[in-house]
Symmetry: C2
Subunit: 324 residues, 2 copies
Amino acid sequence: MNEFSLINKYFAESSFVRKDVIIGIGDDAAITQVPQNQSLATTTDTLLKGVHFLANTSPQDIAHKAIAVNLSDLAAMGAEPSWLSLSLTMPDADEVWLQGFSEKVAELTEYFSVQLIGGDTVKGPLSITITAQGFVPQDSVLTRDGAKNGDWIFVTGTLGDAGAGLDILRNKLTGDDASASDYLVARHRRPTPRVLAGTVLRRLASACIDVSDGLLQDVMHIAKASGTGVILHVDRLPISDALRSYVKDLHQAFGYAASAGDDYELLFTVPEEHRNTVQTALDSYSIMHTCIGQMTGAIGKLDLKLNEKPYTLYDCERVGYSHF
Amino acid sequence: MNEFSLINKYFAESSFVRKDVIIGIGDDAAITQVPQNQSLATTTDTLLKGVHFLANTSPQDIAHKAIAVNLSDLAAMGAEPSWLSLSLTMPDADEVWLQGFSEKVAELTEYFSVQLIGGDTVKGPLSITITAQGFVPQDSVLTRDGAKNGDWIFVTGTLGDAGAGLDILRNKLTGDDASASDYLVARHRRPTPRVLAGTVLRRLASACIDVSDGLLQDVMHIAKASGTGVILHVDRLPISDALRSYVKDLHQAFGYAASAGDDYELLFTVPEEHRNTVQTALDSYSIMHTCIGQMTGAIGKLDLKLNEKPYTLYDCERVGYSHF
């Protein structure tokens, strides 16, 4: 099967259809319409077998993660996703794999109301690059550089689940609680991009980022971009019941929550005058959120506290992921 | 070196800067502004070592080709390029390679007035995915599906050079003319996207595509999308002096011109009533163009002619490239 029939068979008709797509898959480029008074948000992420997912990961879970990590980047800017482009490198035209992958793409494009508008297929080591586009009003963009001394640090959802899930899959973490294990592995394999939370935070959060590299690295991205420091209260980090049950040692749970990455929760800062509004708005959408610390004037400095006392992490070496 | 310092060191400040980029490299997504009354054109292409370029290709030539093939797709829609996103998978953080690659990116973004707005870096087999974005007025988009019976078929530049250049590099084609060899290899390594030609053809061409898969495959993409057939006059295919000199046998030159692909010239169809206008407009910009045939009513049928008589190609097996 050649690449044209591949694209046509599995992708051309498997996507949600939007009215703002004038030309989708099938020409040299897609043609789309950005609404007036909206800026365009664009992000690209590549997932490579053995680096971003284990070799035995299902095509459904690979599709889920590839889409989720890109939508998460848009969410962190406060943008509403609209279109996806997919470049798929795969060793052979495995129809079972393509069936599973494209069904998940269809399901998620429908769920998030985004359209697959184009892409490329190449023969080679399994790798997926997605470019996601979306809209955000220009005066509502969430960035990393707006945090001020005294702003409160919040995070959506719970932290550390994905890292624990990955360690379970790698046999680096073992335990008895099968349902907790399933939950943690699912959080690793099928992260939830916080798209709605991102739009709710527009004009309220002073800075925002998604937790992909790990909380400590990501909070320091905000601090460095904003010219501030950070106090984090480790005892306030939101830990899921599953993680607490599975790892037993609470300090190990704190280690996962602080450093493991891949949670794709939103980490954001809020000025005192918006604190109540943010909490009320997120509550009204039932979006879990936790205040975990505060920005400081100590530029570039990270203070970890446990019950108000200085704290050193259980696993200090594990501070995020570096490719090179 | 970690991926953040890689991106910052080599790419964050190496690109042309545009006023319509509100946030470029360095946040979770880029934020840009599409002009009012313009549609957005988006295309993605992946180049993989060993598939799209030979293992010994210089980083400069890889950067050139990765950018050119994407801008060529925009040109084929009549779009003016604006922004690039780059996902770079490489086996290690080779600083000499990155220096060469990023210098060429900087040079070409300047030349085409496009800004690098984001991307990703991953450790793995050398592969480059670029997403290019641009603008085109909605009523001026060039597509594949507008050709009508009787429309004239034109192509910019010369055909077959890139294919001959690749065969020279692979030692499948040999000859004495060193300067012709250099020219053909350069045409393979550093194709020219016909961006200006694409904008000139807006509202004049009835259909357009770039010659990437090979003339015969690409003209049939237009024919199938438009519901027409094709007559091509092989004796009218534009052959460069270098190709004619190097291959000696004119029929072999026709074979390269018809089938070899990777020329990235624009192939387009023109209704009789626009024929003079198109030729005058392209002449006024010194854009070489040649009428090579005509669309017919014989849906899906391709007739090759040599001096008005039916013709069979020198190398009929070589009809474009298929990945799977």
